[in-house]
Symmetry: C2
Subunit: 208 residues, 2 copies
C-alpha cells in the first residue's frame, strides 16, 4: 500500500519524505492519516531494495526565496552543502530508479488483495497501466461490489432498529453509487480502447 503510493508519487519527480507525506494527505483521502513513523522506514526499505535512491548533491529544490536576507540564506545553504551531501536543511531527497519503476508496475497490477483502499490508490495511478489492466481492475472491483451487495448488506432485516437500518441503507446506497461510477468508467475505457485501436472488423455485424 504505502510502497505503491510512495513510488507513484516519486514517478512524478524526486521528493523528500516530509513533502511526500503532505502530498499523501492531500491527494489520497484514504491514506490521510499516514504518519512519519510509517513513511521514513518505508523509504529506507525501498532504498535498500533498490527501488529508490537518494539524490546526491541535487539542486536543493527550486524555492521562491521568501523575501529579503538573501545573502544569509545562500551562505547557510552553501555551508550545509559543503558539510554534507544534502541540500537545504537536512532533507533527504529520493528519486525512483528503473528497478523501482518495474516494482511499481508489479504492485499496480498485482490483482491479489484489492480492498477499497488499494483499489482507489491503484485507479488514481491507472495512467501507468496498460489499457487491458485498467479494464480488468475496474471490472474486478465491480464484481466485488456486486457480490458485497448480495451477501453482506441487509437493510431489509426486520430485526434491525432505526440506527442499524440507517447505516445498512446508507452503506448499500454508497455501494450502488460506486457501481454506477465504475460502469461509467468502464464504458469510457472501452470507448477509448475502441477509438485508439479499431479492431480488425472483417465480417462487421451491425452493432447489437
Amino acid at each position: 500500500m504505502l510502497d505503491l503510493a510512495l513510488l507513484g508519487l516519486l514517478e512524478e519527480g524526486p521528493e523528500h519524505g516530509y513533502e511526500l507525506r503532505k502530498r499523501l494527505r492531500t491527494q489520497f483521502g484514504l491514506l490521510a492519516n499516514v504518519s512519519f513513523g510509517s513513511i521514513y522506514p518505508a523509504l529506507s526499505r525501498l532504498e535498500t531494495n533498490g527501488s529508490v535512491e537518494t539524490v546526491e548533491g541535487g539542486s536543493p529544490v527550486a524555492l521562491a526565496p521568501p523575501t529579503g536576507s538573501l545573502s544569509g540564506e545562500w551562505a547557510a545553504m552553501r555551508a550545509r552543502r559543503r558539510a554534507g551531501t544534502r541540500g537545504r536543511r537536512s532533507r533527504k531527497v529520493y528519486r525512483i530508479t528503473t528497478a523501482g519503476r518495474e516494482f511499481f508496475l508489479t504492485l499496480l497490477s498485482d490483482s491479489t488483495a484489492d480492498d477499497a483502499r488499494s483499489f482507489s490508490l491503484r485507479l488514481a495511478f491507472a495512467r501507468h497501466m496498460p489499457p487491458e489492466a485498467r479494464l480488468a481492475l475496474l471490472e474486478r472491483r465491480r464484481a466485488q461490489l456486486v457480490q458485497h451487495l448480495t451477501e453482506v448488506v441487509t437493510a431489509d432485516d426486520p430485526e434491525l432498529d432505526i440506527y442499524a437500518r440507517s447505516v445498512a441503507e446508507h452503506t448499500a446506497e454508497g455501494v450502488e453509487q460506486d457501481i454506477a461510477w465504475l460502469d461509467r468508467l468502464i464504458k469510457a475505457e472501452r470507448a477509448a480502447t475502441d477509438a485508439s485501436a479499431p479492431p480488425n472488423r472483417r465480417k462487421t455485424r451491425r452493432s447489437a
Copy 2:
C-alpha cells in the same frame, strides 16, 4: 473496534464465536473480513477481563432439526452433554455480563479515535446511547467530514490526470452525501428530543 462489535452483538443474546463472526460479516460491511484469528482471542480477552462469561450447560441453541435420523442426532447430543459442560458440538457460548455492559457503553461513547469504521459501528449501536451522546457522535462526525472536504480533497488540481481526478471527484461526492445523510439524521434526532422533552420555552420568540 472488535470488542465493541462483539459486545454489541452479545447485547442481543448469548452467542458462540463461529456464529458471531457470521453476523459480523453480514451485518457490518466494514468488518466483513474479520477472521477467526481475531475473534477467538478477543473473546478470551473479554472473558478474562470479566466482560463476558461462558454459558454453562445452557440449552444448546434451538435448532430446526434438518430432516430425518432424529434418534441418532439426539443420542449424539445427549452423549456430548453428559461428557462435557457444553452444548451441541463443542460450542462455547458467551453471554455479556453487567461489567461487560458497562464496558460496552464506555467504548460506545469514547470520543477518541472515531474514523469512518468505528463511526458506522457506533451509530449502528446508537440505540444504546443516551440521546445527547447520539447527537454529539453525529455532529462530531459531520465536523470531521467538513474538515476533510476543505483540506484533503483536491479535485480541481490542474496537475491531476483523468484517473486521479475521477477518484478525487468521486471521493468528494461521497463525502458530500455522507454529510447530507448526517444532516438528515441530526434533524431527526433533534425532532425526537424536542418531542419527548419539550424544553421550557418561556419567552418564546418567533422562529428565525
